[in-house]
């Protein structure tokens, strides 16, 4: 097995993984597409095919604005998380004396329940929360601030915290890989620190930035926990609507259509983003 490159052994090795993924990914998604083309009466799905669900998903103004809001919130989360994490990763890669210690310190907050990390923000931003109590105690305000919680801003802050590790680590890895002699060369050739960053460090760290953005954008569009805990009615996202179709409302065809449309939307946006990021990087060089 270990000598010649007879590929038969290779196919046998990868086959189990492909079978499991086919069973758990391809088959269910195909079934979801089938379900989305049905209508439902009571507990039974119709025999015939219909595009009614897609008509509903794309036709209703309230659904369209929910899609738009989800994309805007997830987009804002992605931008905020990456922008906040980049200087941190840069510091560890280029300036920190004890890199390993910093990496451990940066990951420890993520070793507890996701739900509780999200919930913690409800405690911090709430009416009797950490921020309001602190400001009251300092006599900076005499009424608790009500605008901190239950809005899209709270969702963005909470998710920018919950997903921070997924930005710090990929960006750090790509910064760490940069050949330091390139930076010295640019310096010797007369580039200032800022130009050097813009022309060498930033483009070379782009794979990390793109990876981080995808790792954050995709899952945050599908999160219904954070909007439900800290979003209020104005912070509701598309995943909340999908969740309702599969539980309280019990309209599986509509839920399936909503899922597929949001999946397609996420894929298109992620693809466009990767293409745009690559193009910009090439132009800088």
């Amino acid at each position: 097995m270990q000598k010649g490159r007879n590929s038969g052994g290779g196919y046998a090795l990868i086959a189990p993984t492909l079978v499991v993924m086919g069973l758990a990914l391809a088959a269910p998604l195909a079934l979801m597409a089938v379900t989305s083309l049905k209508s439902q009466s009571g507990l039974n799905l119709s025999q015939g095919w219909t595009l009614a669900q897609y008509g509903e998903v794309l036709g209703r103004a309230s659904y369209r604005s929910l899609f738009l809001r989800s994309v805007l919130i997830s987009g804002a989360v992605t931008v905020a998380t990456v922008a906040l994490a980049y200087p941190m990763a840069y510091f560890v890669a280029f300036h920190a004396r004890h890199k390993f210690l910093w990496l451990v310190a940066l990951t420890i907050p993520f070793w507890t329940s996701y739900l509780l990390r999200v919930f913690a923000w409800k405690i911090i931003l709430g009416f009797n929360g950490v921020i309001n109590s602190g400001l009251l105690r300092l006599h900076l305000i005499d009424q608790p601030l009500g605008f901190l919680l239950y809005n899209p801003f709270a969702v963005v802050v909470t998710l920018a915290h919950a997903w921070a590790a997924f930005a710090i680590l990929p960006i750090y890895v790509s910064l760490e890989k940069i050949d330091r002699s390139l930076l010295e060369a640019a310096g010797d050739l007369g580039d200032g620190a800022f130009r050097r960053f813009l022309r060498i460090t930033l483009p070379l760290s782009m794979p990390g930035v793109i990876g981080a953005a995808i790792l954050i954008f995709v899952p945050t569009t599908g999160d219904f926990v954070t909007p439900e805990l800290v979003g209020g009615t104005k912070g509701t996202m598309i995943a909340n609507l999908i969740e309702v179709q599969f539980n309280a409302a019990g309209n599986w065809p509509l839920g399936a259509a909503l899922s597929l449309v949001s999946m397609a939307m996420v894929a298109v946006i992620a693809g466009l983003f990767v293409a745009a990021a690559r193009a910009t990087t090439r132009n800088i060089r």
Partner: protein, 264 residues
């Protein structure tokens, strides 16, 4: 340098941003009031003793450990064989296969959970922990594959060929060359997939049925204000145990690197 000082300051501010919410958990888990609000009223350990008496929590913890261990072992095994296949053999369609296996990274978890829910419905299979494991494999195999491929790519294939030339059979070569060199990658993959599965909520929410995993249990508790301090105590315990596990894994990993060729 002034620039560095600003950056250092930022680094510590960012660290504070990361830790502030997490420190809320232990602080209120020792606070002698069922209301999660300042000012703190006094020290108590009653939330912890309440937690240790909670059989529903223990059952959910047991479920999560089972699901996490099975998911970690299976996804690391599936990741290992796939990573070996694409790094050691020239396969036609290798890129397509890798793309297919990594596809779940580009699909929101809620969609993965729901599509499996539909499949179970059509096959008339019950919601169960086994279904949760299947869902978690979707989420975890891409992670395992990424970690293990990175390890295989930095792997000198000549070592395996040399071992074979020196007369070791396939099994001994695997045991004395491949496995020790892969061990750090395997440990990292097991750890990453276990913690991902252990903390996964969205997929388990649709597939677990009556057998709650720990995140499902926590989600249920968040609706009852009087149960919250106990939930925070649980969060503090999970944090402490995970940190201990990470330190332990780091120690084991360093050992693994230092003794690759023991025994004759």
């Amino acid at each position: 340098m002034k620039q560095n000082r600003a950056l250092t300051l930022y680094a510590f501010a960012y660290l504070a941003f990361l830790y502030l919410p997490v420190l809320v958990l232990p602080v209120f888990s020792f606070n002698n009031s069922q209301f999660i609000a300042f000012p703190l009223t006094g020290f108590t350990t009653r939330w912890y003793s309440g937690l240790f008496a909670d059989t529903a929590m223990q059952h959910a913890l047991g479920n999560s450990l089972k699901v996490g261990v099975v998911t970690a072992l299976l996804s690391t095994l599936l990741g290992l064989t796939a990573a070996k296949a694409v790094t050691h053999y020239r396969l036609r369609g290798a890129d397509a296969a890798l793309g297919f296996i990594s596809l779940p990274l580009f699909i929101p978890d809620i969609v993965l959970g729901i599509s499996l829910l539909l499949l179970l419905g059509v096959l008339s299979l019950p919601l169960s922990l086994a279904a949760v494991v299947l869902g978690h494999l979707l989420v975890c195999v891409p992670f395992a594959l990424t970690v293990l491929m990175a390890r295989f790519e930095g792997f000198d294939k000549n070592l395996e060929e040399a071992s074979a030339d020196l007369g070791e059979d396939g099994w001994m070569t695997f045991w004395r060359i491949t496995f020790p060199l892969m061990l750090p990658g395997i440990v990292a993959s097991l750890l990453l997939t276990f913690i991902t599965s252990f903390d996964e909520f969205l997929v388990a929410y649709f597939l677990s049925g009556t057998e709650a995993t720990l995140p499902i249990y926590i989600w249920g508790q968040l609706r009852f204000p009087e149960r919250l301090p106990m939930v925070l105590a649980l969060g503090a315990i999970i944090l402490t145990v995970s940190v201990a596990l990470v330190v332990l894994a780091e120690v084991v990993r360093n050992r693994g690197v230092q003794k690759p060729m023991v025994g004759a």
